[in-house]
Symmetry: C2
Subunit: 332 residues, 2 copies
């Protein structure tokens, strides 16, 4: 699976900016792939991209319309259908990360077949995976892990890819979630894989490579999140990381969605991740920290970064505030 670009980002009637988070991530990390945005009347989100009708986007060479909006229930809204059908008519493929599949909407499935177009439902794996083997692969791998979900793992990994490529290093972001897949154009929605194949799917996603090549694997969840830790552990084992980056939000009151669960101590979380990672790569080490300090003012953020650095003797960055150069320096 490789989603053809450039993209036309469809925001539907997104009631606020948050509903278009997926599209925003794509526009931020792959500006060259994004020809423009298409919004229905009443949409409140805005990516600052050129407004393009389908016909115009097709004329400018758009290859795929991305459904870059989320809604309650993750369904394809009836009101979106005219635009989606027109996109198929004009030769674009469609891609969506929603729970409800494009391919399960009869009108879209029929039209896509008739026009010879592809429907990418990136939340739903479309291939079978083998069971993981844990066999050592060539090439280098880095995995972003975290104290919780939604703490900046994807952002950190993409920032590392950008910085490493700018330095001429061979580095590829490997996507394990929907937004990441649109940004990479490929990947596996790892939490949607059948449980038996979690580590096997990651072995497939980040296969053997050149000795100086880095796969930068997008992490998911946390070993300390009671809903998702199984996914996080299978991902850790399958990624076989040489380096871990620990993502954390200082001051977050509790695990995402679970007020009765506190965040783990950083020490405890680091130890648990290193211990588990050693099973498939005894050489694994912690590279440093990516803190999400968006809730702090500049002074408090600086203090939080210095505090973690002095406690652990390793670089700590906030990818948004400071960039990730100091992490890349430490790869050595």
């Amino acid at each position: 699976m490789q989603i053809p670009h450039p993209y036309l980002l469809f925001l539907g009637d997104a009631p606020d900016q948050l509903a278009a988070k997926t599209a925003q991530g794509i526009a931020q990390w792959r500006p060259d792939w994004c020809l423009g945005q298409l919004r229905l009347p009443g949409a409140k989100a805005d990516l600052g991209l050129p407004e393009l009708e389908v016909a115009r986007a097709a004329a400018e060479g758009a290859r795929t319309l991305i459904v870059g909006v989320a809604n309650r229930g993750g369904v394809i809204d009836e009101s979106w259908l005219p635009v989606l059908l027109e996109a198929l008519d004009r030769g674009l493929d469609l891609a969506s990360g929603l729970h409800r599949k494009l391919a399960d909407v009869p009108a879209l499935a029929e039209r896509a077949r008739a026009r010879g177009r592809q429907l990418f439902d990136v939340r739903h794996p479309t291939r079978d995976f083998a069971v993981g083997t844990g066999a050592k692969r060539s090439g280098k791998r880095l995995l972003a892990v975290g104290t919780d979900c939604s703490i900046g793992k994807m952002y950190t990994t993409l920032a590392l890819e950008k910085e490493m490529r700018a330095r001429g290093m061979k580095a590829d972001f490997r996507a394990t979630g929907q937004t990441g897949i649109f940004i990479a154009g490929a990947g596996v929605s790892i939490d949607a894989v059948v449980a038996d194949f979690i580590s096997g799917a990651v072995e497939w996603l980040a296969p053997a490579n050149d000795p100086d090549h880095w796969d930068l694997v997008e992490g998911q969840g946390s070993l300390f999140h009671p809903s998702y830790a199984g996914v996080s552990l299978g991902l850790l084992h399958g990624a076989q990381p040489d380096l871990l980056v620990m993502c954390h939000e200082p001051g977050r009151p509790h695990m995402r969605g679970l007020p009765h669960y506190r965040l783990p101590d950083l020490e405890e979380c680091i130890e648990a991740n290193l211990r588990a990672a050693r099973l498939t790569n005894p050489e694994v080490r912690l590279l440093g920290f990516a803190l999400n300090t968006s809730g702090l003012d500049a002074e408090a953020a600086g203090r939080a970064l210095r505090d973690v650095e002095s406690r652990f003797g390793l670089p700590a960055v906030d990818p948004l505030r400071t960039g990730v150069a100091r992490l890349v320096d430490a790869i050595g």
Copy 2:
């Protein structure tokens, strides 16, 4: 889902006893549910049950024909179809734990529909699960964990159920694998659940119950098996166990199917399981050990049990050789 019993155990043309392992487990643990066996010409397996044709089994009250034989690829063999169709015609449901679904064989699907019979494909979850919450539930839970796969977790849990029920305790085996599901008549094939829902599925399987009721949850895999550890961790978190029983085979040379992976040290494995289990139940403790000493003579087995007991100060049994009474004594 509740598979109706009594069962007729279908062994097909099983080339050896191992191929009928599933049927053997059912016959051992639910003898009262098993009216007889049905073997095709050439079958080498034998459960020692009465030989029953379908007509006879139906007359004696059989409710479900269980495909109790495994083969390469996990497919429904063409040569089995006449028997399976006759079973449907005579009012039996069909159940299979094979990879390939009964429901995907058009002849069977059509006949089942026509006769109003059910097809149970127990390897494939037929319902959706919610994401796990980690919320504390009433009732008690015990989980069998292990240093590796296929080390006696199901056997141990079933032996505990039998012993606890004999003592008048409220105890239910909760099946997480195919053979276990036939034995319980219900359950979830946990390695076939979508990764996001591993712990949620176990929360559903072992729900809130009476304060003095024990759910005895069948474990799967091992935190130290690089192929399946994600499943094991989600299972551990979802089960929220009060007690763990550690299953181990002294002298096993390497992890099942992976000659390049040694078995973990017992201490290391106990610590990892307790540490992970504390996330959803801080009160968890290790009850004792179930050793699989089938590869040892009686003297060496006795030595292995005594050795583990003295190292850890907790009871160690071999469910086959010694029974599990000493584990149940220690529940207190």
